[in-house]
């Protein structure tokens, strides 16, 4: 069982962490744009950290579920509604067969994520990943963005599948992309920072840039002052990483993202620290951007700190919460233990009435 797509949204695709091991053959890695929101969506429904999710952009889809399950929605604020009722984000949500989930236009941010409990949506793995690669038309759902009428299967689970469901929630306000229109991104200089003049580096680190409408899964183009090179920005084409900041000859930064080409011929002045890439990815056109340099050691400390935060969260959401204490369910759970005890004590079972 699964869901049918009633309204597909702008560019709704199946994505996971990305397709690795084929970049040397020219395959973009694809994969989710906002890795934090992706990770949290899977965490909230107790999925594996690499399970596939739906990613949507600016206008989310409307889905009709043909079975019970549990879902979580993260990323920008898409104000999700189920059967006409607001349900909130960054929490596990029970879905009943026939429920209609509507995701609105994003009130903040660019990308949203939907995780389904029990391992996510079921699409075949292509070359080690379930991510959609739109250019090569592989992976995800038939290698393309979802369309009205598509039916996406997942493994059916009951709404009781996850224990302590009410605890499966994270402070959404802290996670939603900032609306103040300014972001500060930490960067690690290199690999070709030597191709820029001292003045160029100063411009890059000291001045303000702005995100533009030329932003998609391939990369975000920034507007701002010209970053000066020593003698042009052409290099012999080499490999490009997620979050690399290319400066083409017009001097305006382009930040390379999930659907980037694997190689390119422009000098790369710096790379955004992994933990800060979600901030950029969720930035609407017109957001002011500043870059602050940090060392490779600081950047890797940040990654480790975030990993610790994830494992703490994963434990935290499993604690029992008040909303989950139902007398009837508690009684049902305890009954077998009480019976066993009473049998062991070799007493008559007169004080517990069981179904005969």
């Amino acid at each position: 069982m699964g869901f049918t797509v009633q309204k597909a949204g702008m560019c709704t695709t199946v994505q996971d962490r990305g397709r690795f091991g084929y970049m040397d053959s020219g395959f973009s890695p694809s994969g989710v744009m906002d890795k934090r929101a992706y990770r949290l969506a899977n965490l909230l429904v107790e999925n594996g950290s690499e399970d596939p999710v739906l990613e949507f952009v600016l206008a989310g889809p409307t889905l009709r579920f043909t079975t019970d399950t549990i879902i979580a929605i993260t990323g920008g604020d898409f104000s999700p509604v189920i059967n006409g009722k607001h349900v909130g984000m960054y929490k596990a949500i029970r879905i009943r067969r026939g429920d209609i989930l509507q995701l609105d236009a994003a009130r903040s941010g660019m990308f949203g994520y939907l995780a389904v409990a029990g391992g996510g949506v079921r699409v075949p793995e292509v070359m080690g990943s379930r991510s959609t690669n739109l250019k090569c038309e592989i992976g995800g759902y038939q290698g393309r963005a979802l369309e009205n009428g598509d039916y996406i299967p997942f493994v059916t689970h009951t709404v009781d599948y996850i224990a302590n469901l009410a605890s499966h929630t994270i402070d959404a306000d802290a996670e939603f992309p900032q609306k103040d229109g300014k972001i500060d991104l930490r960067v690690i200089l290199g690999p070709q920072d030597q191709m820029f003049t001292a003045k160029g580096i100063e411009t890059f680190l000291g001045e303000e840039f702005e995100t533009t409408a030329h932003s998609d899964r391939m990369g975000y183009r920034l507007a701002g002052p010209k970053v000066e090179t020593v003698g042009g920005s052409d290099i012999i084409s080499d490999g490009i990483v997620f979050g690399a900041i290319q400066i083409p000859s017009d001097g305006k930064p382009i930040i390379m993202l999930s659907d980037r080409q694997t190689t390119g011929g422009y000098a790369k002045i710096a790379t955004i620290a992994s933990v800060d890439i979600p901030k950029l990815v969720q930035a609407r056109p017109g957001t002011k951007v500043r870059f602050t340099p940090i060392s490779i050691y600081e950047a890797q400390d940040l990654i480790r700190a975030e990993a610790r935060e994830y494992s703490k969260l994963a434990k935290h959401i499993k604690r029992p919460a008040r909303g989950d204490v139902s007398p009837r369910r508690t009684a049902r759970r305890l009954t077998p233990f009480l019976i066993k005890q009473s049998v062991r004590a070799d007493t008559e079972r007169k004080w517990i009435r069981t179904k005969e």
Binding site: G190, G239, I240, V241, I296
Partner: protein, 241 residues
């Protein structure tokens, strides 16, 4: 082996070799990539060889920057750069000219040669794959004979068919997918360099050689049919240098 390790963000390093496109640099990079493949250092996710560099993506939670530099230097620094004695060749059958290669007359005229001469020159040598990029399976080939170098189209075609073989300036190559293209198209191959459903989705890797073999329209149709029902077997050769 000589290289410098450069930081490419918090999850990758770039090994920079001599910044000159040459067979020597290419073979060093190939050797480095092969050694890393054999060593299978835990934490390395992906390795991208290019003309003069090797990008190594790694998981910093499994191996940190200092550790990866140490591991790389321990495994690569004392590799002797012997010339590789074996070359791996992939044969790509090509039907030149006509509807398959609409620009071959231009290339011939530009070179002051006959069409037959252009074909003989184009398939007269093996081409080293310096790197793959741009599209899945798009090979950047080195060593095109300077007599048939041809300028790119002023306005790129919006679509060329998969298998198109073209010349762009001093480069030649084959389009694995339908794509917009600015190269002069001189032929087409019924073989698909990229097929996601095949066990080996990409027929070749950087460091291999491509040998173009001229075929007739009848042979083209036969191979095309074999490719379509999955019975075609591509020819892979191994030769001493």
């Amino acid at each position: 082996m000589e290289y410098t390790i450069k930081i490419a963000g918090d999850s990758a390093v770039c090994l920079e070799f001599e910044q000159v496109i040459s067979e020597k640099t290419s073979s060093s990079i190939r050797l480095a990539a092969e050694s890393l493949g054999k060593l299978a250092i835990p934490g390395i996710i992906d390795v991208i060889p290019t003309f003069c560099a090797l990008l190594i993506n790694y998981d910093p939670l499994a191996i940190d920057y200092d550790q990866i530099c140490q591991r790389l230097n321990a495994s690569l620094l004392n590799i002797n750069e012997v010339d590789l004695k074996i070359k791996h060749i992939v044969e790509i059958p090509v039907c030149y000219g006509g509807e398959y290669g609409p620009d071959i007359d231009f290339v011939a005229e530009h070179a002051g040669l006959s069409v037959e001469e252009v074909i003989a020159i184009h398939c007269g040598r093996d081409y080293l794959i310096d790197m793959l990029g741009f599209l899945p399976g798009f090979a950047y080939l080195g060593g095109l004979d300077s007599r048939i170098h041809s300028p790119r189209l002023e306005a790129p075609r919006t679509r060329v068919e998969p298998g198109a073989v073209g010349i762009g300036g001093a480069q030649t190559g084959i389009y694995p997918l339908a794509s917009p293209a600015g190269w002069r198209i001189i032929g087409n191959s019924p073989v698909r360099p990229y097929d996601p459903d095949r066990e080996k989705p990409i027929l070749y890797k950087a460091g291999d050689f491509i040998r173009f073999v001229p075929i007739s329209a009848e042979e083209y149709a036969r191979i095309e049919a074999e490719v379509a029902d999955g019975t075609y077997e591509c020819t892979f050769l191994t030769e001493g240098v």
